[in-house]
C-alpha cells in the first residue's frame, strides 16, 4: 500500500475513482474527464503526487471522479487553495478545474492573480457559456442578448473572452480545445502538463440542458473544417478544404486568404509563433471567430512563483548559516537583558 505507483506503468483505469459520475447524460464533461484520465498515465507523475482542485459548479465535481488527491472547495476560490497547496508542496502536480462562472465571475479576481503570479498549476476552464448548476442563468461568457431565466428580455452584458483574459493576466501558457475532440484535448493537456508555470486551457464544453449547441456553429462535424484553425508552432495558420485557407495581416487586422488547388500558398501567411515575447499576436488569435483557433496560442518561459518562494527560503537559510533555531529566533532583532 505504501509503494509509489510510479514504477508500474499506469493506465486510464488507475485514475478512475470509485465514485459514480453524476453529470447529466450527454454532458461534455464526460469527454473531458475521459481525456484527462487517458492522458494522466502518459505524464509520468505518480497518482499520489497529483492533486485536483476545484471550486463550485458542474465542472467542479471533477476531483471526486479522479483517483488522486482532490479538493472540492468553495465558489470561485479554487485558485487560492491551489496556490496554497503548490506553495506548501512544490513537489505536487496541481490541476485546477473551473468553469466560466466559477473562474470568470465570482472568482475572476483570484484567477487573474493566479495567472499573473505564474504559479506552476494547470487550469482547465470549462466554458459552456451558461450557469448549469444553478439551472440556467447567463454567465460572463454568454453572448449579449442571451435569453435565460434571469434575463427574459435578453442579457445586456457584454461577454468576456477567456483567452484574452488569460493573456492580459500574463499567463505563460494559453490554449483552447473543445469537448468533442478527445485527441486534441489530450494533446493540449499534455502540452500544458509539460509547461513549467501556469497553464490556462479554455475547453469549449456543451451543456446539453441549458445551452445545447452553443458552439455548434464552429465545432459541428460538417462545419469545422471551415470554422476551426488548428495552431502549430512554427507553421502557417491554415484551415479549410485541403488547408487552402490562411490568415494574413493587413496592418493590425487579420484577414482570410484563399488559394487554389495546386497553387503555392501566399508568402505572407501568418506563421504561428507561440513563443513570441509579445502577447499581441496571441491577442489577435484569441479574437478570431472565423476561423476560431484551437491549440496553444502562447507559451513563454518565466520564473514560477513557487520556485521563487522556495528560492528565497534557501537563500535566507544559507545566509543564516544554520543558525535558525528557536533560541536564536527569540533574540532576532531585539535587544535583550538579564534579570
Amino acid at each position: 500500500m505504501a509503494e509509489s505507483t510510479l514504477p508500474k506503468k499506469l493506465t486510464r483505469k488507475d485514475f478512475v475513482s470509485d465514485q459514480e459520475v453524476r453529470w447529466c447524460p450527454g454532458c461534455g464533461d464526460y469527454a473531458i474527464l475521459a481525456a484527462i484520465q487517458k492522458v494522466m498515465p502518459e505524464l509520468g507523475v505518480p497518482r499520489e503526487k497529483t492533486v485536483f482542485v476545484s471550486g463550485i459548479g458542474c465542472s467542479s465535481r471533477f476531483p471526486y471522479y479522479m483517483n488522486t488527491y482532490g479538493f472540492h472547495t468553495i465558489h470561485g476560490r479554487a485558485p487560492t487553495f491551489a496556490t496554497g497547496i503548490k506553495c506548501a508542496r512544490p513537489d505536487l502536480t496541481v490541476w485546477l478545474v473551473t468553469g466560466d462562472g466559477d473562474g470568470l465571475s465570482i472568482g475572476g479576481n483570484h484567477l487573474l492573480h493566479l495567472l499573473r503570479r505564474n504559479v506552476d498549476i494547470k487550469v482547465l476552464l470549462f466554458n459552456n457559456r451558461i450557469y448549469g448548476l444553478t439551472k440556467g442563468q447567463y454567465s460572463p461568457t454568454s453572448e449579449q442578448g442571451k435569453k435565460t431565466k434571469s434575463t427574459p428580455m435578453g442579457s445586456i452584458e457584454r461577454p468576456l473572452n477567456p483567452l484574452r483574459f488569460a493573456i492580459a493576466s500574463e499567463a505563460t501558457f494559453v490554449a483552447r480545445t473543445y469537448d468533442t475532440d478527445v485527441k486534441h484535448m489530450g494533446q493540449v493537456f499534455e502540452a500544458a502538463a509539460r509547461h513549467k508555470g501556469i497553464a490556462f486551457i479554455e475547453i469549449l464544453q456543451n451543456c446539453v440542458i441549458f445551452n445545447d449547441g452553443a458552439f455548434d456553429p464552429w465545432i459541428n462535424k460538417k462545419a469545422k473544417e471551415e470554422t476551426l484553425a488548428f495552431l502549430e508552432h512554427g507553421k502557417p495558420i491554415t484551415f479549410g478544404a485541403g488547408g487552402r485557407k490562411g490568415i494574413r495581416l493587413r496592418g493590425f487586422a487579420p484577414e482570410v486568404v484563399t488559394w487554389g488547388e495546386g497553387e503555392a500558398p501566399p508568402a505572407d501567411l501568418v506563421v504561428h509563433d507561440a513563443h513570441d515575447a509579445s502577447s499581441a499576436p496571441a491577442f489577435l488569435l484569441a479574437d478570431l471567430e472565423a476561423p476560431m483557433v484551437m491549440g496553444v496560442l502562447r507559451q513563454v518561459e518565466a520564473p514560477t512563483y513557487d520556485a521563487g518562494l522556495v528560492g528565497q527560503i534557501e537563500r535566507a537559510r544559507e545566509r543564516a548559516g544554520g543558525k535558525a533555531d528557536l533560541a536564536a529566533l527569540f533574540r532576532e532583532g531585539a535587544e535583550t537583558w538579564t534579570v
Binding site: 505507483t5 479538493f71 537559510r317 535558525a324 535583550t336
Partner: protein, 628 residues
C-alpha cells in the same frame, strides 16, 4: 549608566518613585512612535517593568499641526509590577498645540507638560483651533508647564550640521527625548546604538541625531527648568532570566514559528495587509531562514484559501487579519470546519463596525468568531491577555488546531498588538511537542473521516502518500468514509460531532485571582487584563473587599469549571470593550445573572474608572444584602 557617554550630574537632587507615566505627543510626522519606543527600550534595558500604549491616527500624514494628525505614545515604567500603560501621564511632551489639545483631557491636576514653545505660534494655534495661546492665557494653571523652545534649541545645537533645515527640524524629537532621559535618569547609550544601526552608512544623520539627543540631555541638566529629577529603580519582582521587549504582534509571529517547529511541519502564513495586523505579516516575512512561507494574497479570501490549501498539503496554515477581514474569510473557514483541516485565524481586533476606527482598539469580534459563519460551524477561540501572552496562547491555539483538526481563532486586539512589555525568553526545549494525527498507510480502503475516539480528530493523510488518495470538499461527509452524504441522520450526527470536537479540547481550569468565593467576581477576557487586574488588586488592598478576577484565555470551549466558579460569587461583573458579548455567552451558557460593563470608545479601560465601577457594584451588592 555609562560614564563615557552620559554626562556627569552636578547638583540637582534625585527623587525616587515606584512608577511613572510619560506620554509623547506630536504630529504623525514628528517621530513620536520612535521616541516612545526608545524611551521604552532604555527603561526595559535598565530593568524597569514597562507597558506601552501607542495611539496613532489612521491617516499616514494628516495635515500637519491638526488634531486628526496627532500621534501619541504612552509608557508606564516602574520598579514594581506594571500591568497597564497608566491612566494619566505624569509628564506630557507636547510637540505642538494640537498635541496639547488632544491630550489635555487625560491629564490630572499637577501633571507636568513639556511644550515645544516654538510651535505655539499663530499658525500652529489656528490649526489646533486655539483662539488664544494656552501657554499664556492661564488656562493651564492646574498643571506645571515647562516651555521649551525645542525647534530653536535643536537648530542651534545642529547649526554646524550639513543637514538641510527640514532634516534638522526632524531631529527635535530626539532633543525632547534627551530632556526626558535626564528627567528620569536614564542612559543614552541604547539610543546611540539604535541611531547607529538605523542610519548605518549615513554619518551625517548619525551625528545630528546623537547630538540632538545629547544636547537635550545637557539642556535639561543645565537650564533652570527642572528642580529635581527622578529615579525609578529596576523592578525586583521579575523572575530571573533573559528578557526582551515584545509587542503582541511580534509575539504572535514568534508563537506561530514555534508551534510549527514543535509540530515538525512548515508554517504557511497567508495574509492581506490590514491595520493593526500587518506587523505579523512583516515579522514572519523576515523569518524565511526558519522555513516560514508568507503569502501576501490578492485579498482576504485568497489569504485564508491559500492557508487552508497549505494545511491540506501538510503545513500549519495560518491567516491573520482584523475584523473586516474575518468577515470576508467566513465562508472559507466553514470549509476548513467541514473538511476538518487545521487552521489558525489571527484576528487583531479593531473598532468597528465596517471600517470603523482602524487604529483604535476594541473587543467586539467575539460573537463574530463564535457565530459568524453559515450553518452550525464551531471553532476554537483563545484570547491572550497581555502582549507577551500572545506568544504562549498562539502556540496553544496551533496545538488545539493541529490536535483536533479544526480552525482556532486567536482574538488579539490593537492594544495588545502595538503595546509592549518585557518578555522572558522561554526555553524552546521546555515547550511541549505538538503531535498531529498523521497517517501514512491504511489497512484496507483509506477512511479519511475515521475519527479518533478521544480527540475526534480525523487522520491527516498528506498528498504524496501512496494509497491514501482521497477527496475532500464542502459537501456533507459520511462519518468514516468521507463520501458525500445527504442522509438526514448522518448530517445531524456530523453537526454534533463537529461541536463535540471543540468541547473535547483540553483547556486549563479557570484561574481566580483573589478569594475563591466572595461578593464580586470580575469576569474578563483579552487585552483588558492589565487594567482589570490593577483595579481589582487596588480594591482588594484599599477596601479589603471580597472581589476577585477571573480572566478567560479560552472562550470556546470555556474552562471546564467556569460554571462552578461563577456560582461561588454573589455578583458577576463582565467588563468588555463591546456591548456585552462575553456577557451574552455566559448568561446563555450558565444562566447566571451577570452584569455587563461596556465601554466602546476605541480606547482601553482606565484603572480608575474600573475601580469606581467595582466600588459601585460592591455597594449595590451590600444594599441588596441589607434589603434581604
Amino acid at each position: 549608566m555609562s560614564a563615557t557617554t552620559t554626562p556627569s550630574r552636578p547638583g540637582k537632587p534625585i527623587l525616587e518613585f515606584e512608577r511613572a507615566v510619560v506620554r509623547f505627543a506630536g504630529d504623525s510626522g514628528d517621530g513620536m512612535q520612535v521616541t516612545g519606543s526608545q524611551f521604552t527600550t532604555t527603561s526595559a534595558l535598565i530593568g524597569n517593568d514597562v507597558a506601552t500604549f501607542p495611539d496613532f491616527p489612521a491617516e499616514i500624514r494628516a495635515p500637519a499641526g491638526t488634531l486628526p494628525g496627532v500621534s501619541g505614545f504612552q509608557i508606564q515604567f516602574g520598579s514594581v509590577d506594571v500591568h497597564t500603560p497608566g491612566d494619566a501621564p505624569d509628564v506630557l511632551v507636547a510637540m505642538n498645540p494640537a498635541a496639547l489639545k488632544a491630550n489635555l483631557r487625560d491629564l490630572q491636576d499637577g501633571a507636568t507638560i513639556v511644550a515645544n514653545k516654538n510651535a505655539f505660534n499663530p499658525a500652529g494655534l489656528k490649526k489646533a483651533g486655539y483662539e488664544q495661546n494656552p501657554l499664556e492665557d492661564g488656562s493651564l494653571a492646574k498643571f506645571r508647564v515647562i516651555e521649551v523652545p525645542l525647534s530653536d534649541l535643536t537648530r542651534e545645537a545642529l547649526k554646524d550640521s550639513p543637514l538641510d533645515p527640514a532634516s534638522v527640524d526632524r531631529c527635535k524629537n530626539f532633543f525632547a527625548l534627551g530632556i526626558m532621559f535626564w528627567l528620569y535618569d536614564r542612559p543614552l547609550d541604547p539610543t546611540y546604538t539604535w541611531i547607529r544601526a538605523k542610519f548605518k552608512g549615513k554619518q551625517v544623520l548619525i551625528d545630528a541625531n546623537e547630538l540632538a539627543l545629547r544636547q537635550g540631555y545637557y539642556f535639561a541638566e543645565t537650564a533652570e527648568i527642572f528642580t529635581a529629577h527622578y529615579a525609578i529603580k529596576p523592578a525586583s519582582h521579575l523572575p530571573p532570566g533573559e528578557y526582551r521587549q515584545i509587542s503582541g504582534n511580534e509575539a504572535i509571529a514568534l508563537g506561530l514559528v514555534t508551534a510549527a517547529r514543535k509540530a515538525g511541519i512548515d508554517l504557511f502564513y497567508g495574509s492581506y495587509p490590514i491595520t493593526p495586523a500587518s506587523d505579523v505579516l512583516h515579522a514572519l516575512s523576515r523569518y524565511k531562514a526558519h522555513g516560514v512561507k508568507t503569502f501576501q494574497a490578492e485579498d482576504e479570501i485568497a489569504a485564508v484559501g491559500a492557508a487552508i490549501g497549505a494545511s491540506f498539503a501538510g503545513a500549519l496554515g495560518v491567516t491573520g487579519t482584523s475584523g473586516p477581514g474575518v468577515a470576508l474569510k467566513a465562508e472559507a473557514i466553514g470549509l476548513a470546519v467541514m473538511t476538518e483541516l487545521p487552521l489558525v485565524v489571527v484576528n487583531v481586533q479593531r473598532a468597528g463596525p465596517s471600517t470603523g476606527m482602524p487604529t483604535k482598539t476594541e473587543q467586539a469580534d467575539l460573537l463574530q468568531a463564535m457565530f459568524g459563519r453559515n450553518g452550525e460551524c464551531p471553532v476554537g477561540i483563545v484570547a491572550p491577555a497581555t502582549p507577551a501572552e500572545c506568544f504562549t496562547l498562539t502556540v496553544e491555539a496551533a496545538r488545539l488546531a493541529l490536535t483536533h483538526m479544526v480552525p482556532v481563532f486567536i482574538l488579539s486586539d490593537g492594544y495588545l498588538a502595538n503595546g509592549a512589555e518585557p518578555w522572558r525568553l522561554p526555553d524552546p526545549d521546555a515547550i511541549a511537542p505538538i503531535t498531529p494525527r498523521f497517517v501514512t498507510s491504511s489497512d484496507g480502503p483509506f477512511r479519511p473521516y475515521a475519527h479518533d475516539p478521544e480527540t475526534l480528530s480525523r487522520p491527516w493523510a498528506l498528498p504524496g502518500t501512496p494509497g491514501l488518495e482521497h477527496r475532500l470538499g464542502g459537501l456533507e461527509k459520511w462519518d468514516g468514509t468521507g463520501n458525500i452524504s445527504y442522509d438526514p441522520d448522518n448530517h445531524h450526527h456530523m453537526v454534533a460531532l463537529r461541536a463535540a470536537k471543540i468541547e473535547r479540547m483540553q483547556v486549563p481550569p479557570a484561574e481566580v485571582m483573589g478569594p475563591a468565593e466572595g461578593d464580586l467576581l470580575v469576569l474578563g477576557w483579552g487585552g483588558t487584563f492589565g487594567a482589570l487586574r490593577t483595579a481589582v488588586e487596588q480594591v482588594q488592598r484599599e477596601d479589603g473587599a471580597a472581589v476577585s478576577l477571573c480572566h478567560l484565555r479560552y472562550l470556546n470551549p470555556f474552562p471546564p469549571d467556569l460554571g462552578e466558579v461563577l456560582g461561588r460569587f454573589k455578583r458577576v461583573l463582565v467588563p468588555e470593550l463591546n456591548l456585552g458579548q462575553l456577557w451574552t455567552m455566559v448568561r446563555a451558557r450558565y444562566a447566571v445573572p451577570a452584569v455587563k460593563y461596556s465601554k466602546v470608545k476605541g480606547r482601553p479601560f482606565q484603572v480608575a474608572e474600573v475601580v469606581a465601577r467595582l466600588r459601585e457594584e460592591l455597594a449595590q451588592a451590600r444594599a441588596e444584602v441589607a434589603r434581604g
